[in-house]
Each structure stands twice: as C-alpha cells, then as structure tokens.
C-alpha cells in the first residue's frame, strides 16, 4: 500500500494523541492550571492534527461531514463519531483541569475509554480489509492500542511507561512475524485471482496498460527487502529501546520530553512500514505483490 504521509501522520499522531487523552481523561495524571492547558493541549493537538492530516487524504473533502452517516457499518464512520464524541466528552474535563473548576471526572473516565475506542476504530479501518492480509489480523488493533497506551503512558509519565514501550516493541515484532506470513496464509495467488490456476501457473505476459494508474500508485507499492530490515531495526530502536532507556534514566520531565518525540519518530517509521509492507491482493493481477 502506498505509504501516504497523510495517513501515516493521521494514524500515528491521532493514536498518540488519543492515547494521551485517555490517560488524562482517566486521571492517570491530573494537571492543573496552565500546565493542564499545555498537556491537554498536547493531547488535543496531536489528536486533531492527526484527524486533519486524514482529511488531506480525501479526494473530495467538501463532503467530509457525510462520513458521520454510516456508523452502523463503516469503521471509518465509527471512527469519525468516536473521535468527535471523545473530544467533546473530554472537553469539560480539560476545561475543568485548566480552570480548576472541579467538575465531575466522570466524562473523563468515559471519554478516556472512548479515546481508546477511537484508536480501536482506527485500527479496525485497516484490520477489516481482507484484501490486505497483513492488516487483516487481531494483532493490528493490538498494535494500534499498544501504541496509544505506550504513548499515553509515556506522555503522562507513568512509571511503567518503559515497560509499555518495550511491550509495543514486542507487539511490533509479533506483527512483523505474523505479517510476513499473512499473504501466503491468505492463500491468494495470481492463480486464484484470475482463476487460471485451473490451467497451470500464470505469470504476467503484458501489462494491461503501460501507463500508470491509481491502483498501481495506491495499492501496489513495492519496497525493497533490504530497506525493510533496516527500517524495522530503526523503528524498533526508536519506538521501544531508546525511549524506554531514556525513561529508565532519572531524567524526570526532561526524560519524557526526550523519549516522546523519539518514540513518535519510531512510530512514524513503524507506520510507514505498516503501509509500505502491506500487500494488497490486487497486486496479484499485476504480478506485483506491492
């Protein structure tokens, strides 16, 4: 799949944002005053920036509001609802923290949980796509949620944050191991795609078109194996190892300020891989497992 910057930014930023918002909502840390403004602001900014990035992926954003209509069937629609409801529910809590209004934290509990639900719906957008076997696995939501939790834990300065970060690393390793087998396991080949397995073993003779098209650009993105291995190690180090190490060091706030961006950079790399490595079965028609 094409690793479009908009979707990578969307899913990573909003994942981290909603993760952090969840922790704030749950009251894992309860900042006050301007400090609250800044922290809630970070959470909201990340989440909203992510959502904004997502709209850049739209070919026709003027209809964007219509995306709320299909919550009964569409995970993307559900995500739209979940994210908006989360942001709305958490708003009074944020306001209360900032201005010291001492309102009930109940919306925070609910909103925090909804923030996680939002991350889950985001994950499900990908997970549901059977045509991309690498994504079509329960580890995908696990991975998205673990990113959100680890990101939130890091930003909210939880003592167990480094463990969470290492947990994400473990999940990533699992995702890659399972993912690498996924396409083969799904059992689709050029033979099943075309039905020509009835005859023998098909290969591409001529391309259907020598010119480019949307499918090739969007769904059939080929990455070199060498790059993948390098990037995975980088991602692992940045997502888990390095920030976990930083957090173990007695650096306090500074540690968080160092670890979080490093983790985020790693998350971007991991997410780039999430897309770039994902092969859509349509590639079978083109003889390209992109």
């Amino acid at each position: 799949m094409h690793p479009a910057p908009s979707v990578i930014l969307f899913s990573t930023l909003s994942g981290m944002g909603f993760g952090f918002l969840a922790f704030l909502g749950w009251g894992a840390m309860i900042p006050a005053g301007w400090w609250a403004f800044i922290l809630w602001g970070i959470g909201y900014s990340l989440a909203v920036a992510g959502l904004m990035a997502a709209t850049f992926h739209l070919g026709n954003p003027k209809n964007a509001l219509k995306a709320f209509t299909q919550w009964r069937t569409s995970w993307l629609s559900r995500e739209a609802w979940a994210s908006v409801v989360t942001l709305l529910l958490l708003a009074p809590v944020a306001l209360s923290d900032w201005l010291g209004l001492e309102w009930s934290r109940l919306p925070g509990q609910v909103g925090g949980t909804l923030a996680m639900v939002t991350v889950f719906t985001t994950a499900m957008i990908y997970t549901q796509i059977k045509a991309v076997p690498r994504w079509h696995h329960w580890l995908t939501p696990v991975m998205f949620l673990s990113f959100a939790i680890a990101g939130g834990a890091t930003l909210s300065g939880q003592v167990w944050a480094s463990a969470a970060l290492l947990g994400v690393g473990a999940v990533l390793v699992a995702v890659w191991r399972v993912g690498d087998q996924a396409f083969a396991k799904a059992g689709q080949t050029m033979g099943t795609a075309t039905g020509l397995d009835r005859l023998g073993t098909p290969t591409v003779f001529e391309p259907a078109h020598t010119a480019g098209n949307y499918l090739l650009r969007e769904m059939i993105y080929v990455v070199g194996r060498k790059h993948v291995q390098k990037l995975r190690i980088i991602a692992l180090v940045l997502v888990a190892g390095f920030p976990a190490l930083i957090l173990i060091l007695p650096l306090g706030c500074v540690g968080i300020m160092l670890a979080a961006p490093v983790h985020l950079a790693g998350a971007l790399a991991a997410r780039w891989l999430f897309f770039a490595e994902a092969e859509h079965v349509v590639g079978l028609f083109y003889g390209k497992r992109g």
């Binding site: 209809n63 569409s74 796509i129 059977k130 099943t192 009835r198 001529e206 949307y214």
Partner: protein
C-alpha cells in the same frame, strides 16, 4: 446505505468468456468512451511522459505454464464483479457506495463521496479507481445509465463493453434467473468466481479457456504403397473410384 441488501430480486452482472476473449481492448475504450462523455473519467499528462487516467475496465494478459503442453496466453478483462457481499460497500463512511436492492448493482453516488479511497482498499479486485481530477471514486456501473435508459433502443440497453465486444466474449444478464443466458453459460461452461475465498461472492463469472491441443483424429491410411506401385498405381486406384 452501506448496509448490504439481504437479497436482491435480480442479480445483474457479466459473464466473461476467457476462451473467446482475444484481448483486443475494445471493451476498455468503449467503457471509457461511454462513461467519459466529455469529462467523466479524467486523464492526466495525456501526451506526456507519465500518462495516467481512470478506466473502469482493464484487460490484462497472462502467460500460463501448462503441464505437458506449450505455454498459453490468456487475456483477462477485469472490472467490478458486483459482489453479493461487497466489502467496498460496507466500509464506505458516507453511504456513497451502495448495492442496489433491486438488481444488485454496486454503485457510487459521487455527490456523497469524500474520496477517502477506503472502498478501493476493500475491493480485492482493483475494480475502483479514484479519479484524480474529480477526487471521487469511479467504478463500473454495469452501465445503469444504459440498461434502463428509455432513450436507447431496446437492443442497446446493455453495457457499452458488451455491445462493443467484437468476439462476443462478454455477456450481460440476470444470474438470479436460472434460465437466463448468463446462468446457462455458467452452468454449461463451468463459470467460476475470482478469489472465492475472499468471501465476496462475486456476481460476475468467468468462463475458463477450453482445453487446447491437437485433435485425436485417426491417422490417414495411405491409399497404397506408392513406393511399390508408383504414381500410376495411385492414379489407377484414385481415378478408378470416380
């Protein structure tokens, strides 16, 4: 709207005969022409180094290694299969994608589409293309605007690709009706689904190439031993018969 209808009264779709398709690409440009009509399906860099455009139907060609026989070439048209369990529909956040309750045709309501591309991701068959100029999703409409168009003569109320196919490798009809031409073709020629394990239950079916190779005619027996009897003997034997 992105809920799929439980059942549809008709199941309209295409049968594509891979034993007959010669890969002429006529259906590709006929489809483009009908659905373009000025600007419906855009092209970019049309005369440049990297042209690209929206097509709803593309014809691939494959080389098939066949055991104990020479390799075969099979040309393979690919367009929307109007799946019964259409994942492209259920993923759509806006309701722009839908499957018609009356005949099962899967359509995009371009006025509602946000161009998120999710439906194209969900389709295993690459049947959806996001138009680069308009930013909305395009797909085969099974020529809804032909098959029920009262401005067209009765005989023309069929998809543009079917109408143009010079070899008649494309057939249009109702799969819900067991007596329709398409149902009969599927039954008699072993019509099959693409990637059946994807669970999409495609409506369109493909007819496999027939078995190829030399016929087993019994060898010709020589009239007589020409070496022994000579041409004259052959002539006698032959012409004596008239």
């Amino acid at each position: 709207m992105t809920a799929l209808p439980q059942t549809t009264a008709k199941k309209l779709g295409l049968v594509i005969d891979l034993d007959t398709c010669v890969g002429c690409q006529a259906c590709v440009t006929a489809c483009k022409g009908w659905n373009d009509q000025g600007a419906g399906l855009s092209d970019q860099d049309a005369y440049g180094a990297n042209p690209s455009g929206t097509f709803l139907n593309r014809v691939h060609s494959y080389q098939v290694a066949v055991p104990d026989a020479p390799a075969q070439i099979v040309t393979f048209p690919r367009s929307c299969l109007h799946c019964e369990v259409a994942p492209c529909v259920t993923v759509c956040p806006t309701g722009a994608s839908y499957k018609r309750a009356e005949d099962g045709i899967v359509l995009v309501n371009e006025d509602a589409c946000i161009g998120c591309g999710l439906c194209a991701w969900a389709c295993p068959y690459g049947a959806r293309e996001l138009d680069a100029d308009q930013g909305v999703m395009k797909k085969c409409t099974l020529c809804v605007d032909r098959i029920e168009n009262e401005n067209l003569p009765e005989e023309d109320r069929e998809p543009a690709c079917v109408r143009t196919c010079p070899t008649n490798a494309r057939h249009f009809g109702d799969f819900a009706d067991p007596d329709s031409k398409v149902s009969k073709l599927v039954a008699s020629r072993g019509g099959y689904d693409l990637m059946p394990d994807m669970g999409t239950k495609p409506t369109n079916k493909y007819l496999p190439p027939r078995k190829k190779g030399a016929a087993d005619a019994s060898p010709l027996a020589p009239l007589l031993d020409i070496k022994a009897k000579g041409i004259a003997g052959w002539l006698d034997k032959m012409l004596g018969n008239i």
